[in-house]
Amino acid sequence: MQGLMQAGLKSIDRPVAVAFGFIVVLLLAGSLYSSSFLSANYLLQQLQVAAFLGLISSGVMLVILLGHIDLSIPWLVTVGGMMSTAAAGWWGPEWAIPFGVFCGVVFGLVNGLGVAILRVPSMIFTLGINAVAQGVMVLHTGGFAPQDSATPLMRWLAVERTLLGIPNAVFIWALLGVAIVVMLKKTPLGRYIYAIGNKEGATYLSGVNTRLVIVTCFVLSGMCSALAGVLLAGYSSKGYQAMGDPYLLPAIAAVVLGGTHILGGRGSYLGTVAGVILISLLASILSVMQMPEAGRQIIYGCVIVGMLLVYGRGQRVVG
């Protein structure tokens, strides 16, 4: 029994434990301020808001595990939101979600091809795709005055709570999360992702089609961002320009706070979940305390640096 517990504890590594510990501390500190911080309703509300960031971070995590980064998140989220609502206007509401996600997949595919085939550093190539996506969206709104209001299904998915009073968005995040955990732990693809993050050349020499794995991860990242954009459009009832701008830094921060190494090869999905909840909760508590934006930004930065100094330090160079 004790051995089992130790094994269970071992599988939760230090960053994840610290991140969850910090979440508990945040909640307790918040409850000193107002008892409503511990109410089920407040916690569910937090999970609902965290779900959008959770979807984005899931894709970002896959790309970071490879040792790459995806800076096209902001406008791929926007593409998802704006193209889904536009598709509803063009061909009817049933096309909204598939088309929004499809557009994210297309941009993700271009990201993947640029990084895997052309070997342009992902940092700069995804930045270029971000600019292109922005250009396409500006052109899109300017020319046709397209529909921008979300369909009832999008609103239902993002806002409503059906089963057991749990928000639907949380279910979507949970489904995606389970799929990613299974992929990372139980499929060759997942193993290849970690392997590429550790040593791409060695993985290639082992006979893995590394290009295909890289393209797949960028496609998944584009898909996750666009899906989050679709839901965000549902949450705020419409898709609009720059709606994804506030999500890039929190998404990367959530993944890294969850213990995923920014240079790839190491990290667990549970950590990313912890990071997402931590970031969302921190933002929520600071806004409830009516902290001005300036203070929020400073605290936010200090928390990231502080937590990483506790468990994210690199090795000393010794030759």
Partner: protein, 334 residues
């Protein structure tokens, strides 16, 4: 190893090393000629001065970005330091001449201090530069908001006019003189110093640099600190151009991202160890001239962002040519 200086082989080596920067210079000259040829006013001092004032801001931020990139790192906070020093300058660079002078020194020190904090966390905290500067960027943006919750402020008008117009009998834009001064007084001495060479060594191979006795910590720290200082110079210049300060996250983000693009276009490797700030200056000029070209060719405004994006993507993909030249695919994995 290296050829004796002054010989033909030495020059060939040097030319080869600055190939990226030379291409950037050539592309810029071609684009700027095209711009001037199609500009209704032609090559006049006001046209060049306007172009220079805009371009020098990005050029300074791109120079700042170059230093951490050379060490194999990255500074995602460089745009926020730029915004923070802009807000600070709009608060303290006015009044009596001695107050103005003191204000300028304080602004530059603030920029350098921000860079030093980045460097200290990267070197002594041993955190990854990307995530460190992502976090400190949020802190510097918060400080900018504290300094200037709403856009506004003031700057010494005589000095601002002087810095944004011309010198030498109204022929040369002051901004270009400032840029040249920064290159001659800061960049060239730094590159030729032991610490500056250490930055290249760390970026090429940290382990080898350590074994050769290079002070890797000191080199890194100097690179980030100098990056903060240069971003501070840019922030000061922005205040002279706009006569005010604004804590704007979009401005900071845009400058950070464009600075990375400028560094890459200017021939500096994102993996570190090769390139230089002069190339980045021309990379920045190229990015700015693209905007100006769109203006003179009367491209419909709606198409401009897309066109800019496609050009940016194309420019950064140029390096992909090497992929089709390698004979052994293993060479790609490093």
């Amino acid at each position: 190893m290296s050829a004796p200086s002054g010989t033909l082989a030495d020059w060939r080596l040097r030319l080869g090393q600055s190939q990226g920067a030379l291409i950037a210079v050539a592309v810029f000259l071609a684009m700027f000629s095209l711009y001037i040829a199609n500009h209704p006013a032609g090559l006049t001092v006001p046209v060049v001065t306007t172009a220079a004032n805009k371009a020098v801001l990005l050029a300074l931020v791109a120079m700042a970005q170059t230093l951490p990139v050379l060490t194999g790192g990255l500074d995602l906070s460089v745009g926020m330091v730029f915004v923070m020093t802009n807000c600070l300058a709009s608060t303290i660079v006015s009044g009596e001449p001695w107050q103005v002078a003191l204000g300028i020194v304080a602004v530059l020190l603030a920029g350098a201090a921000a860079g030093f904090v980045n460097g200290a966390i990267v070197v002594y905290g041993r955190l990854q530069p990307i995530i460190t500067t992502l976090a400190t960027g949020a802190i510097y943006y918060g400080i900018a908001l504290l300094l200037r919750p709403v856009p506004g402020g003031d700057v010494d008008p005589d000095l601002a006019d002087f810095m944004t117009y011309t010198v030498f009998g109204e022929t040369v834009p002051t901004a270009l003189v400032l840029l040249l001064a920064v290159v001659i007084l800061i960049w060239l001495p730094f590159r030729n110093s032991v610490v500056g060479r250490g930055c290249y060594a760390v970026g090429s191979s940290e382990g080898a640099a350590y074994m050769s006795g290079v002070a890797i910590g000191r080199s890194r720290l100097a690179a980030y600190t100098l990056a903060g200082l240069l971003a501070g110079v840019a922030g000061l210049m922005l205040t002279f151009v706009t006569f005010s300060g604004e804590a704007s996250a979009p401005i900071g983000g845009t400058y950070t991202l464009n600075s990375i693009a400028a560094v890459v276009i200017g021939g500096t490797s994102l993996y570190g160890g090769a390139g230089g700030a002069i190339g980045s200056i021309f990379g920045a000029f190229i990015l700015r001239t693209i905007d100006d070209l769109l203006f003179v060719f009367d491209l419909p405004p709606l198409w401009q962002p897309l066109f800019q994006g496609v050009v940016l993507l194309g420019a950064v993909s140029l390096g992909a040519a090497r992929v089709f030249r390698v004979k052994n695919r293993l060479e790609l994995f490093n």
